[in-house]
Symmetry: C2
Subunit: 143 residues, 2 copies
Amino acid sequence: MIISTKGKNALKLMLDLSLYQVEEYVKLGDIARREEISEKYLEQIVSYLQKSGKVKSARGAHGGYRLVKNPEEYTVGEIIKCLEGDMAPTDCVNRDDSPCKKRDQCFCYPLWNKLDKAMNEVLNHTTLQDLIDWKEEKEEDYE
Amino acid sequence: MIISTKGKNALKLMLDLSLYQVEEYVKLGDIARREEISEKYLEQIVSYLQKSGKVKSARGAHGGYRLVKNPEEYTVGEIIKCLEGDMAPTDCVNRDDSPCKKRDQCFCYPLWNKLDKAMNEVLNHTTLQDLIDWKEEKEEDYE
DNA sequence: CCCCTTTCCTACAAAAATAGTATGATTTAA
DNA sequence: TTAAATCATACTATTTTTGTAGGAAAGGGG
């Protein structure tokens, strides 16, 4: 399992906001109940999303969280990486600033690079809206 | 970093065998020195590879390890997964025997499935020989 | 038969990452 | 003023990772 609960819960949280925000802010307690995640744990997770500007909040009574953009404008990659770090196969990938000194002699580096690209091809080209659409398409199949 | 040192070292070990085995068995001590890995740690790693039949051993003086097949017959996926487990994005993927009960209601499952397929597309279609060939091609570029 | 080399086996342990809990301060609407 | 909510930080238990340690077993050469 390469995606931890933090990443998975962040994605669930963003999906929940996509589905349940209409006009008003959504309380964390409601998300916690619907998604069956500890509210205290969600507080920790949402703070990362907030600090990177992916959600905005309102404090006090009737407060909660909202998406800043539309669901089709968030990639699942940016959400998961916000919690998981850069998700590179190894620490020698994605280091254009300070590349590994043995990189050019390394038999494995091209592999890690390909793997990284393959993962990002999925993560950076799938949006929250895609996840919602895929589910709807599947439900149509049953009708 | 989703590939641990165990997986990386297993791959280095198999690559080292590919490059240095001619007729005789290769000692772990030599591999440890060339690849700069603790010999004791390598012992642990090679035992997994041996138990799954990827290498064969000879004990005693002049003993060591050899590949069972040719380098082009090993995928990097089977080597890494031998040490890392199945490398699925989440534990709900690759459970055809006992699938998650919420799978059909899950917004995320299709994503994890796509990610898994994308990773395996690379891991299961790259062989040890490919890694060696890629390096040689790169070296030709400098000539 | 004895010694040296090498694999084989298993237990232990330090360090880091993961998955949360706990406590309470702060802000806001009613 | 009070209740509802976010915000901040510290703590902790568990698991995973990354090895180390010690010795048993096997085989080759003298």
